[in-house]
């Protein structure tokens, strides 16, 4: 039980990490993250990298959809733009990784602003369909602009290099992906405490009131699109160096829906929710797969039923989580935390 935790200034009340307990656990978490790669094999490191990339993309989408209330069905396309930008810059111009990373983000942000332009006149489901159009258009460009994107065969990318050091294993990439992920998450958490972030939330909650308060709706919606696509672009760049190949098949519509599912399962508008959602959507299918591996060697017929069942169970899990906690995993986490805050004296 935590005691004597009183806030005496507004600043203390507004702090991200409000108490010693939180700060203590945060240090533990960072130590665990730092120690993780030394304790596990390449498979778990690969999954960690993949999760890191998913977290960056999900946080980005949460800025746009969770905070600013603009539903996007084109997030995977922006991840794709980031991925293609870095692949093209690396293979055709030979730019180093450190330069590709921000440029991927910027190019995605640029296209994000263009796609966001219809938000001046449209909102809700209509805007959602406009972003769907972006998904389809970019997908088409990835496939058909063969001279630049390599068409359906895509582009093979050499491993990234950082200060002459080759990032050719999951272990080395981990030390790039995870710090970038942490930086991205920190930036997003702080964004919501700035004027811009507050404006996003005002627009989401009631756009007319927001406008009356002096928020330029169009301008701030474009900011939201830019920020969100920037995150997507950075995630795309990291994904390219992780998979070492980019093809249009990596950014289909259902990938966009997967990102939406991440933030809905995790908790709309919450940075922590994006993290939980990304971990959930990346790791649960793997966990189900590993569970299934225990049955291997049993009857073939039984296995032929069990395999498709994974997808069903995964879908059911999402539904069950949402039925019991519509505000997502982040809310569940908050309740658990609150329970332990007063534990063992609940009343």
């Amino acid at each position: 039980m935590r005691m004597g935790d009183f806030k005496q200034t507004y600043a203390a009340d507004e702090a991200v990490f409000r108490s010693g307990t939180v700060r203590f656990w945060l240090v533990v978490l960072f130590l665990a993250i730092a120690a993780f790669p030394f304790m596990v094999g390449p498979y778990l490191l690969y999954m960690a990298n993949l999760t890191g990339v998913a977290i960056i993309a999900a946080v980005g989408l949460n800025i746009l959809t969770g905070a600013a209330g603009q539903i996007s069905l084109g997030h995977a396309a922006f991840v794709g733009i980031g991925a293609y930008t870095s692949a093209i810059l690396t293979t055709k111009l030979g730019l180093p990784f450190l330069l590709c990373l921000p440029l991927s983000g910027l190019s995605a942000a640029f296209f994000g602003v263009i796609v966001g332009a219809p938000s001046m006149r449209m909102k809700g489901l209509y805007l959602c369909i406009a972003t769907l159009a972006a998904q389809v258009i970019f997908d088409f460009i990835f496939v058909h602009w063969t001279s630049v994107t390599g068409g359906i065969r895509g582009i093979n990318v050499p491993s990234a290099e950082l200060f002459g050091y080759k990032l050719d294993t999951e272990f080395k990439l981990y030390f790039v992906t995870i710090p970038i992920m942490i930086a991205a998450v920190t930036a997003a958490r702080n964004l919501f405490r700035t004027r811009v972030g507050r404006a996003f939330i005002a627009i989401r909650d009631r756009d007319i009131s927001a406008e009356l308060m002096g928020i330029n709706l169009f301008q701030y919606k474009l900011y939201a699109f830019a920020a969100s696509s920037f995150y997507a672009g950075v995630a795309g760049c990291l994904q390219v160096y992780l998979l070492r190949i980019v093809t249009p098949e990596h950014f289909p519509l259902h990938e966009s829906i997967r990102y939406l599912a991440m933030i809905i399962v995790g908790g709309l508008g919450s940075v922590l929710g994006s993290i939980f959602g990304a971990i959930f959507m990346t790791m649960v299918p793997e966990a189900l797969q590993s569970g299934l591996a225990l049955f291997q060697g049993l009857d073939d017929k039984l296995m032929s039923y069990l395999f498709p069942l994974q997808t069903v169970v995964f879908g059911l899990l999402i539904v069950v989580f949402l039925v019991f906690e519509p505000h997502g995993l982040a809310e569940m986490w908050r309740r658990v935390k609150n329970y332990f805050r007063l534990w063992p004296f609940e009343h």
């Binding site: 094999g41 390449p42 498979y43 690969y46 999954m47 993949l50 496939v143 068409g151 359906i152 065969r153 895509g154 093979n156 050499p158 491993s159 050719d168 294993t169 999951e170 998979l243 070492r244 190949i245 093809t247 098949e249 990596h250 299918p285 793997e286 797969q289 299934l292 591996a293 291997q296 073939d300 032929s304 395999f307 498709p308 994974q310 997808t311």
Partner: protein, 393 residues
């Protein structure tokens, strides 16, 4: 006290037995696989998986490699590149296998640099892509049959030898989908046609899952080719194209490559399937005069008594298993350890390998693909041989 001693004794024996079991289990040749058992490719993936599993089980029944058994370990990868790569890395770390089977062309391309530099594992896959058969670039990878380009080569060779009107240059059209799968062999096919004196009169391209094919059909009618080869489809839109062509009164012979040579398509075609032709790297389930097919039927009778038919994707898995076993045996015969790098060195040395009628006499001559296939023709709902094995190299 006595009971304690008995208990301890039992425990110790158990430990020893289990330990010995583990030691025995370690002495196997491990083959891992990322199989697309669910997802878009499941229609073939589940059969490929079964074919590979059965082929390896059969090899074990024959005594493995000098008594050393194979162990087949697989995971479902759902035809999703990220999952497949994850699964591959997991299995490499856990089992350190000498051989692996991948779910897609994409997986092969994504893993190629790491397989060359780090994992050194012999890699077969569901893919017939030319890129993966390039020995100089991907020495560890092989294609379980002729690549799509080679399949086109085989068909064009057949067309050149069987012109519809004597003394006239045969004409052909290519009908393909706008995908990597559809476009893969086309440049090579054009070249091959030129070389063998077959005129390419039309190329029709459709989007994936195209429903309206009227404009392509009209163009086909205008050029009236002797032969038309499909690539990049599984079933649709082929039935509507063949039906439409018949309605126009075209006498064109339609042909397919591996994926469009399935019973599934022939059943859909019904009466239109009479005379439909194509290339297949293997024999079909009902070609009981082929010795290896007899083996397969016999194996299925013993292990899967309720199975009435195995499709061509099953044969792909079975043949991949045969290649794995063959390469392992070659290693052993040369006194080499069965490792990925030794297995890879064996690929170019496979020459005139008798597959007991299943896939001709196989050699991996100029590429890590077999470059051999047979042309079959649809007759009474079955594919019957229309040629002998056609060799490209």
């Amino acid at each position: 006290m006595k009971s304690l001693r008995v208990t301890l004794g039992v425990l110790l024996t158990l430990c020893l037995v289990l330990g010995a079991g583990a030691a025995l289990a370690a002495d196997t040749i491990k083959i891992t696989a990322q199989q697309p058992i669910t997802g878009r490719f499941a229609f073939a993936g589940k059969h490929i998986h079964q074919g590979l599993a059965d082929s390896i089980a059969w090899a074990n029944e024959q005594g493995g490699v000098d008594g050393v058994k194979f162990e087949y370990i697989y995971e479902d990868s759902g035809y999703d590149l990220k999952r497949a790569v994850a699964s591959f890395k997991k299995m490499m770390a856990k089992y350190n296998p000498a051989m692996d089977y991948g779910e897609s062309t994409g997986q092969g391309k994504a893993l190629a640099p790491e397989i060359n530099s780090r994992y050194h594992v012999l890699y077969g896959s569901t893919s017939f892509s030319q890129e993966l058969a390039d020995r100089a670039q991907n020495p560890y990878m092989f294609v379980s049959g002729p690549t799509y380009a080679q399949q086109f080569g085989i068909l064009i060779k057949y067309i050149a030898a069987n012109p519809k009107t004597k003394g006239k240059k045969p004409t052909v059209a290519f009908f393909y989908s706008d995908t990597a799968f559809g476009r893969d062999p086309i440049p090579y096919a054009r070249e091959m046609a030129k070389k063998l004196g077959v005129e390419v009169v039309a190329e029709e391209v459709t989007a994936v899952g195209a429903v309206d094919i009227t404009s392509q059909l009209l163009d086909l009618k205008r050029h009236n080719p002797d032969y038309c080869i499909f690539q990049g489809y599984v079933v649709p839109p082929i039935p509507s194209i063949i039906r439409g062509a018949k309605d126009f009164g075209l006498k064109t012979t339609f042909m397919g490559t591996f994926w469009t040579m399935s019973k599934m398509l022939l059943d859909k075609l019904g009466a239109d399937g009479e005379g439909y032709m194509g290339v297949m790297p293997y024999a079909y389930w009902y070609h009981t005069d082929v010795p290896m097919i007899k083996v397969i039927q016999d194996f299925n009778k013993r292990h899967h008594p309720d199975v009435k038919y195995r499709p061509n994707s099953y044969m792909q898995g079975w043949f991949t298993g045969m290649v794995f076993v063959k390469l392992a045996k070659m290693c052993k015969a040369k006194g080499l350890a069965i490792t990925g790098s030794n297995l890879k060195d064996m690929i170019p040395q496979v020459k005139d390998w008798d597959t007991q009628g299943f896939a001709g006499m196989v050699s991996f001559k100029h590429s890590n693909a077999t470059a051999v296939g047979k042309v079959y023709v649809g007759k009474g709902g079955k594919f019957m041989p229309a040629s002998d094995w056609i060799y490209l190299d």
